[in-house]
């Protein structure tokens, strides 16, 4: 009897506790209708109770945003998407996904638009979460139309300073629509991005006021990603306010020291200031003269990145060419010497008599002093016109 009474008292207090915990005015807000359909718990990514856009308080390395950004590259996404689910007053929008994805790499990557990606899945399409109907069952999130437009106009209003729909749409001709119909914009291509070879920056540094920057060498040879320097840039960095815009963003706020220090944090001032314009890195200074194929590849083909520098590669040929030079594994043209029909039949040792590392000596077979020209093939030094 006593134990029954005890359990009743315990049950009463437990129930009272639950009732108190269920009070909607105590604790976090209950979810709005339809909002709890997300496939992950908030705690999966956020450490605080009320994450905001500016203060998301994300856990490290576990957020779908980060996972998605690390996992997907623009090339994996679709090229062009036709947005035709809401076709009504306007003809479908031809959205160049590839171009946008590539440009977004510089500022936030895929999550800039794909703001919610469940774990272990590629990015869902907008319409998977945002319903297409205008009369929303769930008012807590925008419909498909709002989702599309907010994403696009977030940048394009700033960029174009215009809300004219024809930026993306073409109006349908005739029907109940008023206003002049325009032709469908089939393709909008971005102007090719020009990378200058040498940019000379003027500074006020007394010891040397000019800083030469070999832009194309940094990109093509040293393999620097655009976003390494052009961080936090978007379309409007170049396109807004025409003359005042700059590919590095607001010119008044650019501090190129910050940019260069990302790699050159060990170098002193004179490394850049006052440096001769033609003083570029010469691989021959390291004791290894790069010829033919090796001169045309980027640094990271042979060197691995380590911190802000490069590792020293194994100098042995086989370290990079483990498959050797057997037929089918090796393209002789990569060395800079293209073999013609006659020579391709020959064995390696027929020409490279002292082994693979040694150059072939033409005069071992040919007694007419012919040499190899990279553009025209084998030719005689005396009469290049009559070259074979």
């Amino acid at each position: 009897m006593r134990s029954l009474l005890f359990s009743l008292v315990v049950a009463f207090f437990l129930t009272a506790g639950f009732v108190a915990a269920g009070d909607p005015f105590d604790g976090p807000m209950p979810p709005l209708k339809g909002e709890a359909v997300k496939e992950v718990d908030c705690e999966h990514c956020h450490v605080c109770e009320q994450p905001t856009y500016d203060e998301p308080c994300l856990k490290d390395q576990s957020c779908p945003r980060d996972v998605a950004a690390a996992k997907l590259s623009p090339e994996l996404g679709p090229d062009v998407i036709i947005l035709d689910q809401l076709e009504d007053l306007y003809v479908p929008v031809r959205f160049n996904h590839r171009a946008h994805a590539t440009m977004t790499e510089m500022d936030g990557g895929c999550p800039t638009c794909h703001h919610f990606t469940p774990p272990d899945r590629p990015h869902p399409e907008c319409r998977e979460c945002h319903p297409g109907s205008v009369l929303l069952s769930d008012i807590a999130q925008p419909g498909l139309k709002g989702a599309y437009h907010r994403q696009c106009l977030g940048c394009h209003v700033e960029w174009d300073s215009s809300t004219e729909c024809e930026i993306c749409h073409a109006k349908k001709a005739g029907g109940a629509l008023h206003g002049s119909a325009t032709t469908f914009t089939t393709e909008i291509h971005h102007t090719p991005i020009e990378i200058s070879d040498l940019i000379v920056m003027k500074t006020e540094y007394e010891e040397g006021d000019e800083v030469p920057f070999h832009h194309s060498a940094h990109v093509k040879l040293y393999g620097a990603e655009c976003s390494l320097c052009h961080m936090h840039q978007n379309c409007s960095s170049c396109h807004v306010h025409a003359e005042a815009s700059h590919p590095m963003g607001d010119p008044d706020k650019i501090d190129l020291h910050d940019t260069c220090y990302r790699c050159h944090d060990d170098n002193n001032c004179e490394y850049c200031h006052g440096r001769a314009h033609d003083d570029r890195f010469d691989h021959a200074d390291t004791g290894w003269l790069l010829k033919s194929y090796h001169a045309s590849v980027g640094c990271t083909t042979c060197h691995a990145r380590q911190n802000n520098g490069l590792t020293k590669p194994d100098p042995r040929c086989a370290a990079c060419h483990p498959d050797g030079w057997a037929e089918g594994k090796f393209n002789h043209s990569d060395t800079g010497v293209r073999l013609d029909e006659t020579h391709v039949e020959a064995d390696c040792v027929d020409c490279h008599t002292d082994g693979f590392g040694s150059p072939a000596i033409c005069s071992d077979c040919h007694d007419d002093d012919r040499v190899y020209n990279h553009q025209t093939g084998f030719e005689s030094p005396d009469s290049p016109e009559s070259a074979d």
């Binding site: 205008v134 929303l136 008012i139 709002g146």
Partner: protein, 309 residues
């Protein structure tokens, strides 16, 4: 009782007629099933498609869509009128442009409904403040009463003038559609739904983005609540909206008017009060008369004395 005392007494009596907290006891107020629209001015892009859709849906004088794309309309501050139920204005309180749509707020306790002497305006059970042309006299009390100065009159229509204001697209609502402006808004800065859910949503948005919004849902409590609700990054008073307090306009006017005649007690009380004054005055006067008559009687000219007093 001298004149000052009398005025004091009358004043305190008048105050007693007006209950202290009229709003709380007012029978009107938010409807359980009322619908509304939440306007998020931080999302609006100022495209003015809502104006075009409104004109088209309500058979207002129609202009071409392209004419709405002109930014010249933002050069001056515009108000809704008889041929424009809604207008979008541009404000730059902090340098950056903010656009705000103006239209009838469809108050929960509408002043126009209260002021209308023929019930041409009605608050429907779904929250819409609807106008019935067949009842309208054309007195325009509604225009004077509206705290948002929304109803407009067709002064240029000599024979069948109407009061014009946002209809909430009643026909569309009855068909199960959203209002025309809500349907066309490309960025969905207008959200149509149950008013209670919209208020909850609005507060949730503020809670999630405290830097984006001022912590106030305009229309939740203004003039007793409105069906149209606004979220903004700056106080709505900087976007051309009046600062009106939380009491519904009819709470003041109706309370005064209804109180005066409530159960006929105040008129009777006033009448009784006046009677008492008369009686008091009369008694005072009688004693005077008595004194005078005594005096006069000595001279034997009672009628002359009465005339002099």
């Amino acid at each position: 009782m001298d004149r000052r005392e009398f005025t004091k007494l009358l004043g305190s009596m008048g105050l007693a007629l007006v209950p202290g907290k009229a709003a709380a006891s007012h029978p009107h107020g938010p409807l359980a099933d009322g619908v509304g629209v939440l306007v998020d001015t931080t999302v609006c892009i100022g495209c003015r498609k809502c104006e075009w859709a409104c004109n088209r849906s309500n058979n207002l004088p129609e202009e071409e869509l392209s004419s709405f794309e002109s930014k010249a309309a933002f050069d001056s501050y515009r108000r809704p009128d008889a041929s424009h139920y809604t207008v979008v204005n541009e404000f730059k309180p902090n340098g950056e442009a903010i656009w705000a749509k103006t239209q009838c707020m469809h108050c929960e306790d509408p002043a126009c409904v209260s002021a209308c002497i023929v019930s041409a305006f009605k608050k429907r059970s779904d929250g819409v403040v609807a106008y019935d042309l067949s009842r309208c006299l054309g007195c325009r009390y509604c225009i004077l009463a509206c705290p948002f100065q929304i109803p407009a009159y067709e002064y240029d229509n000599a024979f069948t003038p109407q009061v014009r204001k946002c209809t909430f697209c009643i026909e569309r609502l009855d068909e199960g559609k959203a209002p025309a402006c809500v349907s066309i808004c490309p960025v969905e800065c207008l959200t149509y739904g149950k008013r209670e859910e919209l208020i909850e949503l609005a507060h949730r948005k503020i809670e999630r983005n405290p830097d984006r919004y001022v912590d106030h849902v305009y229309g939740e409590h203004e003039v007793g609540g409105t069906s149209w609700l606004y979220l903004s990054s700056v106080p709505m008073t900087e976007l051309g909206f009046p600062d009106l307090g939380t009491d519904a306009v009819p709470c003041v006017t109706e309370t005064i008017q209804h109180s005066i005649f409530k159960n006929f007690i105040p008129p009777i009380a006033l009448f009784a009060f006046l009677c008492q004054i008369m009686w008091l005055t009369r008694e005072h006067g009688n004693s005077d008369d008595a004194e005078k008559s005594d005096t006069v009687d000595a001279y034997g000219g009672g009628d002359e004395g009465g005339t002099a007093s």
